[in-house]
Amino acid sequence: MNGGRPITEDDLQGYIDDAIDSRRRAEVQAYLASHPEVAERIAIDRALRDTLRDALAPIADEPVPAELNLSRLVDRHRRPRRDWRSGPWQVAAALLLMVLGGAGGWGLRSVQEPPRAGIAALAQEATESYAVYAPDMGRPVEIKAADAPQLVQWASRRLERPVSIPDLSGAGYSFIGGRVVPTPHGPAVLYMFDNGKGTRLTLLARNMAVDRDTPMKLETEGHVTSVSWSRDGLGFSLVGPLDQAQIHPIADVARAQFSRAI
């Protein structure tokens, strides 16, 4: 007998979990040496602990899904949804305007409606096109990358100016094809890119009546960010499920190529 404090069940648990100091540990070891039936039980508990750790280790090795991307969650937290555009506030605002001036309720139109022109409208259209075509597994594009010259010809004819396809392979995105899509401001060309891991980007380009030369504007809605700019009357908007820091450099690559090409 060691003559010290008696060994408790807590000491045994602490021994299994390596949670006791070295002196107490030595006392537990001495106890176990003279109590083989307890020693056997503790050995099984330790083996069970190790087996459980091994069995559950693969879960912690899995790639973390996109919804749990912390920087994206932080970003969403920093830019809360524009609550005043929806829900009870919208109703309250409508009622207030109605009360204030009868037909004055029309004033709400400017709040409710999407931007009607310029770079903000372009970003909106590009985001809508992205939402429709990028998740399409069967036919995301009408003309595939193999027929790129045909697509460029089609786009250039509809936009009445040459619109080339940017090379984003340096950023890991390969061109998969595109189509001409309608917008309230005439035809636009939509080019689509894929990184081979299920992430797609779209680039929408159309003629601009206003905001004909605009620096880049970034906008994030939910998971999706758009980067929009225009040059010489041609507007571009790159859209993808990335945060602003990720998509901005890709847009820079595209913009640099168009500056050279056009």
Partner: protein
């Protein structure tokens, strides 16, 4: 914000694992972790600067998990852990030790929730007894007794496997 990223991000895989084993449902577990992270982001400034981020996060996650499990219990849903996480049980049995991972996972799955939670926090996520007590909102003595009971039960279940007749009876719910 930057120190928050550095402290929280490496813990996300562990949070996912804890939630998945506790809830036995990987999609629900990831939803729960997302809730947990959103709460952590919005309450980061309320956290005691000297406190341990890991204990704090597991506290948030555990409380969310308990709420969710109470709701699920009312609906009567139950998914076995092996259905929820094939990766966790697809590995070869640990023949040398004579203990099969599948058996241990099944035994874990049959522990009462409070015992399973303690065992996971202490042995898998390696929280100290004090931090586990904080995360679970119970005194440290309760952590110790639940841990001891959880281990006894696991041991008995596994021993039962060696005698098929006994384990068969035990397995009937």
């Amino acid at each position: 914000m930057r120190d928050m990223m550095l402290l929280i991000e490496p813990l996300i895989p562990r949070l996912r694992r804890y939630a998945r084993v506790l809830l036995r449902d990987s999609a629900a577990a990831d939803d729960l972790v997302q809730d947990c992270l959103e709460r952590a982001i919005s309450r980061w400034h309320q956290r005691r600067a000297d406190g341990d981020a890991r204990a704090w996060l597991f506290t948030i996650l555990h409380n969310l998990a308990m709420n969710r499990m109470r709701q699920t219990a009312r609906r009567g849903a139950h998914v076995q852990v092996e259905d929820a996480s094939p990766a966790a049980v697809a590995r070869a049995p640990d023949q040398e030790a004579g203990i099969h991972q599948r058996d241990v996972l099944q035994a874990l799955d049959r522990l009462p929730d409070d015992q399973r939670a303690v065992l996971l926090l202490v042995t898998i996520e390696e929280l100290s007894y004090a931090d586990a007590a904080k995360a679970l909102g119970v005194p440290i003595g309760t952590v110790m007794s639940r841990l001891s009971r959880a281990r006894t039960r696991l041991r008995e279940e596994i021993a039962g496997r060696d005698q098929p007749a006994v384990s068969h009876l035990r397995r009937v719910k």
